[in-house]
């Protein structure tokens, strides 16, 4: 077996455009899933039992089923059963956002609940309204605490975007797998794909480790 690495260099622009799609998809999903997760977290702290159980059900469901199946479900079921047609990118974004929002909501909830109840009581006693307490007292502290966990989710999301290649969104995996089937340079292309992910993912993972050390909570 001889290896011909020029195939990677020859296709560099396609690989780079795939990597761009991966980054765009990660950033867009997170931009949706941060407010989405916060909303779900607040709904889970709602005074109404029905709202709480319903949100908990949704969150637990998305956390306990494979993301790849969620993407398939949205891709095949929305058009066939509900006649809703979305582009591949929109399908991918919807699937990833629902999944990551569920994970983020748990993070936010843990962050909000980690603030001692005395702070709630004190703020309410000072005459602040509940939304005010949340906005001025609780959330600013909670956000800082959950930052490392959110950053970990970001890195997972970055890797999970590779799953959208199964519905033909032209991300790094899709492009690489396509080049592989066009050129038959399996080892070279797949190694380049793994290396590119690693090259992008490694600094992010290190940054997250640093954030975890830097923002360690000691109360």
């Amino acid at each position: 077996m001889t290896f011909d690495w020029s195939v990677v260099w020859d296709n560099r622009w396609r690989l780079i455009s795939g990597a761009e799609m991966t980054i765009v998809l990660t950033a867009t999903t997170m931009a949706v899933a941060l407010p989405g997760g916060l909303l779900l977290a607040l709904l889970r702290l709602s005074p109404f039992r029905v709202v709480r159980s319903f949100t908990t059900g949704i969150v637990e469901f998305f956390r306990a089923t494979p993301l790849i199946l969620q993407i398939y479900w949205i891709f095949y079921v929305l058009p066939a059963a509900f006649d809703i047609r979305l582009s591949e990118f929109a399908t991918a974004l919807l699937g990833l956002s629902l999944n990551v929002s569920s994970f983020n909501s748990e993070t936010f909830r843990a962050g909000i609940q980690s603030i001692r109840p005395g702070q709630w009581n004190a703020a309410l006693a000072l005459g602040m309204s509940k939304p005010q307490v949340l906005h001025k007292i609780i959330l600013p502290q909670a956000m800082l605490r959950v930052l490392p966990a959110l950053a970990s989710t970001w890195v997972s999301l970055f890797k999970d975007t590779s799953l959208v290649s199964i519905i033909a969104v032209a991300d790094l995996s899709y492009v690489a797998l396509k080049i592989r089937s066009e050129t038959y340079r399996v080892l070279e292309v797949l190694t380049a794909m793994a290396a590119l992910y690693c090259l992008m993912g490694y600094p992010q993972a290190k940054l997250v480790d640093w954030l975890h050390r830097r923002l360690k909570v000691a109360e």
Partner: protein, 234 residues
């Protein structure tokens, strides 16, 4: 009776027909069997790798620490999908030996999981105060004895919650092995959905089956941890 090959627009929005599921229950059950054996074996492999690498990384000196650190960081920054396709399609070219989808899946998922388990084990081991190790050594125990009888039992209890999430993640990640054609639950569902044109019923059923595996598993591990948590405190 022939299969219904209705175009989507011929159908009302929601006519649920679960007969494809009932007729093909064995086909789905085979998939479930593969999902369970694939995730089970990859958990065994991953925990095995993690235990060895975690202990070596914690107590094995700086050279082992660096080497294992490289393995951990490498596998944690590459998507499972990329590891799976690399193991199944590219790795055989390196070793000159072809892999079955199932063994490729177990290998890829196990080695991937091993990196995460290594970190959990290391965090657990280092969370036990160093004084305990010194005390055990002073009593004349060998380092391995001390790890096995003093450190690990306490550390394992502390590691239960993160290990539990890793087990659930392993079951969910086994679905990604469908891309290398392991006939597990998702793959079988795809085949069935393609044959019967009933994606809604079939993918929904698959989703429910995964939920029924993962959710109780997570809850059970939580319960076990709550029951034993005091034993891990020191």
């Amino acid at each position: 009776m022939g299969r219904r090959v209705a175009a989507p627009e011929d159908r009302t929005a929601m006519d649920v027909d679960i007969s494809p599921l009932i007729e093909n229950w064995q086909f789905i059950l085979t998939g479930l069997g593969f999902t369970l054996s694939l995730s089970g074996l990859s958990i065994v492999l991953g925990v095995g790798i993690g235990l060895v690498c975690g202990v070596m990384r914690t107590y094995g000196g700086s050279l082992l620490d660096t080497a294992i650190g490289l393995y951990v960081d490498l596998l944690r920054s590459i998507p499972v999908l990329a590891i799976l396709v690399w193991t199944y399609f590219a790795f055989p070219l390196v070793i000159g030996e072809s892999l079955t989808p199932f063994s490729g899946g177990v290998l890829a998922l196990g080695v991937h999981l091993g990196a995460y388990v290594t970190e959990v084990i290391r965090a657990g081991l280092t969370s036990i105060r160093p004084g305990q190790m010194r005390a055990a050594l002073a009593l004349g125990m060998s380092p391995l004895q001390a790890i096995r009888t003093i450190i690990l039992p306490q550390a394992l209890i502390r590691m239960l919650p993160p290990l539990g999430s890793l087990i659930v993640i392993a079951v969910k990640d086994s679905a990604i092995a469908s891309v290398i054609a392991v006939p597990e639950l998702l793959r079988q569902s795809q085949v069935l959905a393609g044959k019967t044109f009933r994606p809604f019923e079939i993918y929904t059923a698959a989703m429910l089956i995964y939920f029924l595996i993962c959710y109780p598993t997570a809850r059970t591990i939580d319960q076990i941890y709550r029951r034993f948590a005091p034993l891990g405190a020191s």
